[in-house]
């Protein structure tokens, strides 16, 4: 027993030595970046986002990257605090919650650390950060609805499947469509939240089909729910896609979803770009203060008719 203990202690010592040895290897000419983000397991979007960050802020590009992932705000705050004490040059934050960040950001400012927000806004004075690189969800919705209007259908009877109520993506993507419902240009057959759940989306569409009501557009606020809706259509023998009866619209541009578009089974997929790293890297390297505090990440919408394999490879998320 004692032998084991001794061995164990020695091993701990060795590991400690190695750790300190590694630290000394750090070179000082690299730009030190600390990223506080949500964990990649959160969503396909986040996974792509994390990969993008790690790819852009790589050693090869002249950065030393420290990362911390958590969906808990207090853990994120602690990690940010830790990065400040360690002395990073830049702090990049996608916060779990919008509140509670004042103190940490003030400390960062005092320490001369520049802060960039990405993907998500924080409720603090704009002077506390350099810039926020975010998606404009409302614009995503507008792009999609404008595309839908450009299809010039004789009438629009829409099944609207919403994401988790109150999330940024849901509010943004719902807004533009709600305006059309109000103006009477489009008819709301049903508007239900499936809280991002594919199976729930399928049930919602099944209920409409079984009630016998007519519809010709499915506007799902992410790809998964669109897939659920399509499964219901397939079982009921209702055609969809480019040459079908029902127009299918999704969001997020997962690769598998774009492939559905390419096959002509869906009609539209709106992008929600997780690629903010390059924009921030460019800002850092330029050394200038950004022109605006809020930088909108430009996002596209893909039409099945115009989509190419190249688009899928470039913009598709996941595998």
């Amino acid at each position: 027993m004692r032998k084991f203990k001794a061995l164990f202690l020695v091993m701990i010592l060795v590991v400690c030595c190695m750790a300190t040895a590694c630290k000394k290897d750090d070179k000082d000419d690299k730009i030190k970046v600390g990223v506080v983000n949500n964990p990649p397991s959160e969503s396909g979007y986040r996974e792509a986002n994390v990969k993008d960050m790690e790819a852009v802020f790589s050693e090869a590009n002249g950065y030393t990257l420290k990362t911390f992932y958590s969906i808990k705000n207090d853990e994120q705050l602690q990690a940010a605090q830790g990065f400040i004490t360690e002395g990073v040059d830049y702090l990049l934050i996608s916060a779990a919650e919008t509140t509670g960040w004042d103190d940490v950001l003030k400390k960062a400012k005092e320490a001369g650390i520049k802060v960039y927000l990405f993907d998500r806004m924080i409720d603090v004075d704009t002077s506390l950060y350099e810039a926020a690189v975010v998606s404009d969800m409302a614009k995503e919705g507008e792009t999609a609805v404008n595309w839908l209007l450009s299809q010039n259908l004789p009438e629009y009877k829409v099944i609207h499947i919403q994401g988790a109520m109150g999330s940024d993506a849901q509010i943004g993507r719902t807004g533009a469509l709600d305006k059309q419902f109000e103006s009477g240009k489009m008819k709301k057959v049903v508007q239900q939240t499936a809280t991002w759940d594919e199976a729930e989306a399928k049930k919602i569409v099944e209920a409409v089909i079984n009630s016998g009501e007519d519809f010709n557009v499915i506007y799902a606020e992410n790809d998964g729910m669109a897939k659920g809706a399509v499964a219901a259509l397939d079982e009921a023998g209702i055609t969809h896609g480019v040459d079908g009866k029902v127009i299918v619209m999704g969001f997020d541009c997962n690769k598998w979803a774009l492939r559905e578009l390419l096959a002509g089974k869906w009609n539209y997929d709106g992008q929600c770009s997780p690629f903010q790293a390059q924009i921030i890297s460019d800002l850092i390297k330029s050394g200038k203060a950004p022109a605006s505090k809020q930088i909108i990440n430009n996002e596209k919408g893909f039409d099945a008719k115009a989509l190419t394999q190249n688009d899928i490879d470039t913009y598709g998320l996941g595998e």
Binding site: Q192, E206, D223, A231, A236, W256, E319
Partner: protein
């Protein structure tokens, strides 16, 4: 003799009275609301196969995962006097394993699907063993023990595939999750029937039913009669593991995609409710699988009814809660006793009347 017959009729459903009344009420309510609600039609799906369609099919089909889980949960409840709240997370793990195996091969054929299912089963049974060990060996409250997997299960599911929503597509999968060409009945429904038959056979060809109930009702006495209570509890979790794997694979096959965050989300609560609505005591002991299965259909019928009424799905849970509170209250011992008293008083009065008639 006739009187006996009537009495048997009144009490004959016993435990199943409440769920059957619930179904009857929902049916009547829907028929009043929309006489065509239960119409069943034959349509052709996009693969050109004739399939049954209609709300009733949707309900029975949609409740499949729930029904399968409810069967396993009933067993765990009976043996351990507690519930496994990690079934949703475990199903996400099983589904992820299923997808992982399917994607690792070059082509998807019957062999790989079976292999993937077997792997999913093994993994789910392992996690069942984990839960079961905590409960049976370490005597941890089932809800607390399974809270661990409930919390971390979906993260584990994420690690298996990495990506958030990997997709797989194959005619075999859509055959499992939707329809087998030429068979108009949704395959998940057939799977539920198969599972029910398997359970029936299990109880028929083993003494598991008797042992499980003995352990659940009086663990100490069961032990002194030579029953290995630890093993029985563990076994119940392992069997639940199989149910978890089956429902996870159904869930994945329906859409050909695994979203570890949303696959069978919140299903643990519905499962426990199905067991409770089925008239089974959540404190363990005597149980009826058929009750739990009917309970699952009650819950699904309720959900679909609310969807058909276009109740916003944000409100669905609240309405569901109201109905379920009603059902559980009606099924409570207090109401049961009052109702029983009322029935017996009624019978008494009738007996007196008939006795008087006979005298005259």
């Amino acid at each position: 003799m006739k009187k006996n017959g009537k009495k048997a009729f009144l009490s004959g459903f016993g435990q199943l009275t409440i769920p059957l009344i619930a179904i009857a009420l929902l049916v009547v309510f829907n028929l009043i609301r929309d006489p065509g609600f239960f119409s069943i039609g034959i349509s052709h799906n996009n693969n050109g196969n004739p399939v049954l369609s209609g709300n009733i099919i949707g309900i029975i089909n949609g409740a499949s995962e729930l029904a399968v889980l409810a069967m396993g949960m009933t067993l765990v409840t009976a043996a351990c006097g507690g519930q496994d709240i990690s079934v949703g997370a475990a199903a996400a793990i099983a589904g992820s394993v299923f997808v992982k195996v399917l994607k690792s091969g070059s082509a998807i054929n019957a062999g790989t699907v079976i292999l993937a299912f077997v792997m999913a089963c093994i993994v789910a049974m392992l996690f069942g063993t984990f839960n079961g060990t905590l409960v049976a060996v370490f005597k941890i409250q089932p809800m607390i023990a399974t809270l661990i997997l409930y919390t971390c299960g979906r993260s584990i599911a994420y690690w298996i595939n990495g990506g958030a929503t990997p997709t797989v597509s194959s005619p075999i999968l859509s055959g499992i999750g939707s329809f087998i060409p030429g068979v108009p009945i949704p395959t998940p429904v057939l799977i539920v029937v198969a599972m029910a038959i398997l359970f029936k056979l299990l109880f028929h060809f083993t003494a598991l039913g008797l042992f499980t109930q003995s352990v659940g009702i009086n663990g100490s006495a069961a032990r002194l009669n030579g029953i290995n209570a630890t093993f029985i509890k563990l076994l119940s979790f392992i069997i639940l593991g199989v149910c978890v794997a089956v429902s996870g694979c159904i869930g994945v096959s329906r859409l050909g995609l695994i979203n570890h965050e949303t696959l069978l989300i919140d299903i643990e609560m519905d499962t426990i409710l199905a067991v409770a609505i089925g008239g089974n005591s959540l404190g363990g002991g005597k149980f009826k699988l058929s009750g739990s299965i009917i309970g699952a259909y009650v819950i699904q019928m309720l959900t679909i009814t609310l969807y058909a009424m276009k109740v916003p799905s944000t409100d669905v849970k609240a309405y569901k809660a109201i109905v379920i509170v009603l059902l559980v209250v009606i099924g409570s011992p207090v109401i049961k006793e009052r109702f029983g008293r009322w029935i017996s008083r009624l019978a008494e009065r009738r007996r007196k009347v008939s006795a008087k008639g006979a005298e005259e």
